[in-house]
Amino acid sequence: MTVSPPHIRSADEIEDWFRQHVAAVAGLPVSDVPGSADFESFGIDSIQGVDMVTALEAWLGLSEDLPLEYVFEASSISEAAQRVSVALRDGTIAS
């Protein structure tokens, strides 16, 4: 049986995922969640934040934990998506 390598998501795809997730948690339309915004500005607490990263790991099909710093030390949703995408591509995070 041939196993296909996992699809590595682009930064744009990851940003869209973040925006949809934040919108669902905050009860806002996705259009009100710009990529330039910081996660904290939506009142997401640490439990919701960890939930989000856990869901992201599942969506990305990661085989190891995604360090929280990749997401939460970023100054914006776009930057977080970029960080994760780069880490996936250069193998810092195993998928």
């Binding site: 500005s41 009142g43 640490s46 856990t54 939460f72």
Partner: protein, 271 residues
């Protein structure tokens, strides 16, 4: 700053303990909607007795920012008294003398940056440090399933005791957590925490308040001083949804038992 309040020094903390119980009322009753006994605006229960130990983090405005309660489980425990129907048969006895219980944990500090999570980690390593010193090798507790991810990311080694099930305010699950030098070492390294994380005052040493006494203790100890949370900012979250609304929404998404179960199955695999 994280303070340890026990039967030995609680006489120094009468104002702060009242503030702690008021904060618990706000968090558990007002925000989470738990049906708990409230008197004079304070939430207390039968486990807030002489054996209870409170780890309390104060922010720079000297308000309660976070707390967790621990208590020996050899005489009685919340898990055995109220949640025994959740426990698997044949599990190690809770009243074996080497088990403490953790409960009423909360943090009011918002934010997702490492500095914030480090302070939460400090609040969660402190019970492990105390238990190790007392020869205890296990914590037990009952938690909302949504907290499991945070426990895991902080570094607690948790085994779930049975399946999650509704407990009146959401889906909860009983757990036991390993207390060992290895766990404490790993959490300390991961988060860069001082040892011990807590300050335990035995007197005020001439200071006017416990906060002043604590400041004097950590004056030359930046690692411990950084565990002081800043006073909450006034910036409101976007959209008017707010934390409470967001929490309510998040809770509604786990209202479906199968969804909650699935999420815990995922977590337990990782744990």
């Amino acid at each position: 700053m994280l303070h340890l309040i026990t039967s030995h020094n609680r006489h120094l903390y009468s104002l702060e303990l009242d503030a702690l119980h008021r904060a618990r009322k706000v968090v558990f009753v007002d925000e989470l909607g738990w049906q708990l006994r409230v008197e004079d605006g304070m939430e207390r229960d039968e486990y807030d007795d002489e054996r209870a130990m409170h780890i309390v983090g104060f922010d720079s405005a000297e308000d309660v920012a976070m707390s967790i309660r621990v208590r020996p489980a050899d005489d009685r425990s919340m898990l055995a008294d109220h949640f025994s129907h959740h426990l698997p048969r044949g599990m190690r006895a809770i009243d074996d003398g080497r088990t403490w219980e953790v409960s009423r944990g909360f943090s009011r500090e918002r934010g997702l940056k490492r500095a914030v999570l480090m302070r939460k980690a400090a609040c969660m390593i402190a019970p492990l440090e105390m238990a190790l010193e007392a020869g205890v090798d296990r914590y037990v507790g009952f938690t909302d399933v949504r907290l499991l991810g945070l426990y895991y990311h902080i570094g607690w080694k948790i085994d779930l005791l049975g399946d999650p099930m509704p407990y009146g305010e959401g889906d909860g699950v009983a757990y036991q957590a390993e207390v060992s030098n290895a766990v404490v070492r790993d959490i300390r390294q991961t988060w860069g925490l001082p040892a011990p994380a807590c300050i335990e005052l035995t007197s005020l040493n001439g200071a006017a308040t416990v906060h002043a006494a604590a400041q004097a203790m950590v004056r030359d100890d930046p690692a411990r001083a950084q565990l002081m949370a800043p006073a909450p900012g006034s910036q409101a979250p976007r959209g008017g949804a707010g934390r409470i609304a967001a929490l309510a929404k998040a809770r509604s998404t786990t209202a479906n038992p199968s969804t909650a179960q699935q999420s815990v199955q995922t977590l337990s695999t990782k744990l």
